[in-house]
């Protein structure tokens, strides 16, 4: 017994180091595994509050850019209103399938990271506003990400610029599906993989969210094809998609509550059980 105590006293530093190393490594590994929320995330009282304060200052400095973006959005909406013909091309948010007017929450990004492989945004609405994990987040230009963690007043969003994000997407004109990933290289481009070789595509085609996704409604803009890689081994294309969004500069976002999500998930679960 005496020897055990001696050992502990002698190596107290090493033991403390090993203990802390164990804790932090397990937190790291846990954060890299799929389908599990993080224990340590910026959706909490401390970092949410600090980021909100910082963002208040930043927002003031970016007023001009935000004004421009709002004016642009206004112009698009006006053009929809005045030229009824355009409604065939661009869909109003309200008219998207599965989304009713009351299902869209407006929120503000208070922190945005884009310089690591796993990027997250923090937004200033949380459970009290009705935000739940797995809700889609978009802005006027296109998709932004998916809600991961929520706290009372804040939520973290997996950015599309995240190695772990995987979103169902399709070619706008042909309905061929693929999945949208990010290779961690450039903030302006994401990759569409597993697109069948049968699809007729050319550079400049628009990519939108696909109907298989239960998180996003169909036909939300993502970007345009900028590069096509043909893999000789498989029957799939890999595409570089240039995002409509500038992911390094995101202000206000919309959160989509998809009512169909539960219905679809329940239906698919029942299918599996039988």
């Amino acid at each position: 017994m005496q020897q055990i105590f001696n050992f502990i006293f002698k190596n107290s530093n090493r033991l403390l180091f090993l203990l802390l190393l164990g804790i932090s490594l397990s937190l790291t590994i846990q954060s890299h595994s799929f389908h599990r929320s993080k224990i340590i995330s910026s959706a909490n009282f401390l970092s949410g509050g600090v980021y909100e304060k910082i963002n208040n200052v930043n927002e003031y400095l970016n007023l001009k850019a935000q004004n421009d973006a709002l004016a642009q959005e206004n112009a698009t909406l006006k053009s929809l209103l005045f030229n009824k013909k355009d409604t065939a091309n661009v869909k109003l948010m309200d008219s998207l399938k599965g989304v009713k007017p009351g299902d869209i929450l407006v929120s503000k990004v208070i922190h945005n990271s884009y310089n690591v492989y796993e990027n997250y945004l923090t937004i200033n609405s949380g459970e009290l506003d009705g935000v739940k994990p797995d809700m889609g987040v978009i802005n006027s230009l296109g998709i932004v990400g998916i809600v991961e963690n929520t706290s009372k007043n804040y939520a973290t969003v997996i950015s599309i610029l995240n190695k772990r994000s995987q979103i169902n997407a399709k070619i706008k004109k042909s309905n061929h599906f693929g999945s949208l990933n990010w290779n961690g290289k450039s903030t302006g481009f994401v990759q569409l993989t597993d697109l069948p070789r049968l699809a007729m595509i050319k550079i400049g085609d628009t990519i939108v969210t696909g109907g298989q996704s239960v998180i996003f409604p169909e036909n939300i803009n993502i970007g345009t094809i900028s590069k096509i890689y043909r893999d000789t081994q498989t029957n799939f294309y890999t595409l570089d998609v240039k995002l409509f969004n500038d992911m390094t500069n995101i202000g206000h976002v919309y959160i989509i509550k998809s009512k169909d999500k539960e219905e679809i998930t329940n239906l698919e679960k029942r299918e599996k059980d039988e």
């Binding site: 802390l20 937190l27 970092s47 492989y117 796993e118 903030t187």
Partner: protein, 168 residues
């Protein structure tokens, strides 16, 4: 003793605040950020309590993780640096470092520079390797480590010169 504690607490809070408010928003070339908050571990007194250093480094890293959504990567890198610090002292200043009064925040000698360089490299290498968590990104990771290390060291040296006490 009490003044050392006070200075370190103050340094801890100040560096953390600077890191979160200013340096986290600096992105050279879009992906290179400096992490001068490691200065806390570098400038910690040579003969200070080692367990306290480990614990405070862990706290420092966990708070950084909290703010940057990075799981436990900053914490791991910080405690690793805190643990190997005595070895780095031995390497940079020679075996008898404990008997010398090494003040890091004074004029930059080659020994001091070696020590800062090694500390920053160890911290950044661990940090970015764990952040990528994939060996297929190893070349990109090494490039990021190199660029960030240079960036961090420049800022660390500027900070050291700025807070250097003027006594002459």
């Amino acid at each position: 003793m009490n003044s050392t504690l006070f200075v370190n607490t103050f340094r801890f809070i100040l560096l953390l605040a600077l890191q979160i408010i200013v340096f986290n928003n600096m992105n050279l070339l879009g992906y290179v950020s400096p992490f001068p908050y490691v200065l806390f571990i570098i400038l910690y007194p040579v003969n200070g309590n080692k367990s306290a250093l480990l614990a405070s480094s862990f706290l420092l890293g966990i708070i950084m993780d909290l703010f940057s959504n990075s799981g436990g990567t900053h914490a791991t890198a910080c405690i690793l640096l805190a643990y190997v610090r005595p070895t780095l002292f031995k390497f940079a200043f020679g075996l008898s470092y404990e008997y010398q009064t090494i003040k890091l925040n004074e004029v930059l000698t080659p020994q001091r520079f070696t020590f800062i360089l090694l500390s920053v490299v160890i911290h950044h290498f661990t940090l970015f390797l764990l952040e990528a968590f994939q060996l297929s990104f190893i070349l990109d990771t090494l490039l990021t480590v190199l660029l960030s290390t240079i960036f961090t060291i420049i800022i660390c040296i500027i900070i050291i010169y700025l807070i250097k006490p003027n006594k002459r």
